[in-house]
Every structure is written in structure tokens, then in C-alpha cells.
């Protein structure tokens, strides 16, 4: 190819790169997914043990205390997962030399937080009213919707994780007694699978 052809191709490559980088938050690290997934699985193991203890105890054990404990575990896992996910993404953005806080990050945050906050309020009300059976599926479905909504502003693959979370949430409606396992699958296994595949696709070369 002659030199003008080459320079035109370079121009198009530049245009594409800048369009992508300016509209999407692309520093999301595969390790963030893996880390968040591991937090969720550890949380599920702790929650499982707490529930075992409750059911092994005598019939007068305090049910409200169990609920409070589980909410505490879930909140701790949420915060831990958020910190871990943020940390790896921060490290990646430092390595790539892109600012973590820009228009793209702001849009991503807004578009994922909106469904999450709405879902959070609904779940909080469910706890209040004692509709415990629906909490697992609500959490998964709202989280999945948040991911699908946010995927336009970050790596497109996040959309598929979102679909998987929504599907898991819907399926969980039909296996309510196995809620904790579905929870561990949705927030743990799916994140880890997603994280590994993203790491394989984007981070593998730079990490080595």
C-alpha cells in the first residue's frame, strides 16, 4: 500500500481510538471481577455458617438477629467487593496512564448507580416487610439491569455479565429454598468467570 493509503488508515485508527477512549471507561480490570467474585463467595460461606448455627440452635433463637447478621454480612461483602474492584481498576488506569475520573467514568457511575439505588431501596423495604424470599432475585435482577445500562459506557462485554445476572435472578424465583447458592453463583461465580475472560482478553499481555 502506498503512503497516502497508510496515512489514511492511521487517521482512521486514531479517530476510532479517541472516540472509544473519550466515551467509554476502559480501565475496568479483569482482576476487579475476580476480586469481587471472591468476596461474594467468602461472604456466602460466612452467611451459610451463620444460618447453620441458627437452625442448629433451639427453636427460640432470635430470627431478627439472624436477619440483622445476614444484612451485615451482605453489606460488608458489598463494601469489600467495591473496594477490591476499585483498587484493581485504579492500578490499571495508572499503568495505562489514563485518568480514572473523567466524563466517561462519571457517566458509567451514574448509569449503574441509578438502577442499583432503586433496587437497594426496594430490597430495604422488602426486609422491612419480611418478604425475604424475593430478596435474592431482586438483588440479582437489579444488579443485572445496572450492568446492562452501564455497559454502554465501559467495555461492551459487561452487557453479557448483566444478562447472565438477570437470568440468574429470574431462575432463582423458582428455587427460592436454594437462595444462598444462587446468590453465590450470581455474585461469585459469574463475576469470576467474567473477570477471568476479561483478563484473558485484555490484561494478559500487559500483566506479563
Amino acid at each position: 500500500m502506498d503512503t497516502t493509503g497508510q496515512s489514511n488508515l492511521d487517521a482512521i485508527r486514531d479517530i476510532r481510538k479517541i472516540m472509544e477512549r473519550s466515551s467509554r471507561f476502559i480501565s475496568l480490570s479483569g482482576w476487579s471481577g475476580i476480586g469481587a467474585g471472591l468476596c461474594a463467595i467468602i461472604g456466602a460461606i460466612v452467611a451459610n455458617r451463620t444460618m447453620q448455627q441458627y437452625y442448629d440452635a433451639d427453636r427460640n433463637a432470635c430470627f431478627q438477629c439472624l436477619v440483622a447478621d445476614l444484612v451485615l454480612i451482605a453489606s460488608a461483602v458489598f463494601v469489600a467487593a467495591l473496594i477490591v474492584a476499585f483498587l484493581f481498576t485504579y492500578l490499571k488506569s495508572r499503568k495505562d496512564g489514563v485518568a480514572i475520573w473523567g466524563t466517561a467514568a462519571r457517566r458509567l457511575l451514574w448509569n449503574t448507580m441509578l438502577p442499583m439505588v432503586a433496587g437497594g431501596i426496594i430490597i430495604w423495604k422488602m426486609l422491612d416487610l419480611g418478604y425475604y424470599e424475593l430478596i435474592v432475585s431482586s438483588a440479582l435482577v437489579f444488579y443485572g439491569l445496572a450492568l446492562v445500562n452501564g455497559s454502554k459506557y465501559t467495555m461492551g462485554e459487561v452487557r453479557y455479565l448483566g444478562y447472565a445476572e438477570i437470568a440468574t435472578g429470574v431462575i432463582s424465583l423458582f428455587v427460592i429454598s436454594r437462595g444462598l447458592y444462587v446468590w453465590a453463583f450470581g455474585f461469585g461465580v459469574l463475576h469470576i468467570v467474567y473477570g477471568i475472560s476479561m483478563w484473558w482478553k485484555y490484561d494478559r499481555k500487559t500483566d506479563q
Binding site: 489514511n8 487517521a11 486514531d14 479517541i18 472516540m19 473519550s22 489514563v98
Partner: protein, 99 residues
Amino acid sequence: MKNPIQHLNKIFDSRVRLGIMSALVVNPSVNFNELKELIEVTDGNLASHLKTLEENGYVKVEKGFIGRKTNTTYKITKAGEKAFKNHLDALEKMIRSIS
């Protein structure tokens, strides 16, 4: 046959100006520092290219404040969008004619 090069916009010959237009066409507005980071140029270089685009009516400037710090944001104009699209079409035609 018509020479496709004549449709290539001279103003977009520069890598920096092409970069500025690429960023503005997909975002409602972008501020100076974000542009600087995206395109990886010095302040002076970016400012002079922005000036050229502004003078040609392809971008408009809005000066504002965040707290006490000045925050200059840039937006693409209708004319800018059209010029950029024509430039992309011309690039596409040229590449087609070669391959």
C-alpha cells in the same frame, strides 16, 4: 473519475485536530484537560489547534467555573459535525479506491 482527495478537508490534516473532532463528535462536551489527556499534546499545541477549529466554526467554546477554577469546555457545532462526516466519507472512498 473524480479525484477523491479534493473532498479531504485540509483542516483535518493535523492529527491533533482530527483527535479533537473525534472526541467532540461522540461527547456532548469535553473540557480542555480531558482533551489534552486523550490526544497527548502540550497545552500550547492543543490551544492553537482548538483556535483554528474555532475560527473555522467547527467548535464552540464555553468558559465556566468549577468553584474558583476556570473550566473551559468545547462543543462541536453543526457545521463541524457535517465537515467531520464529509471528511470520514472521503477517507472511506480513498481507501476503497486503493484496495
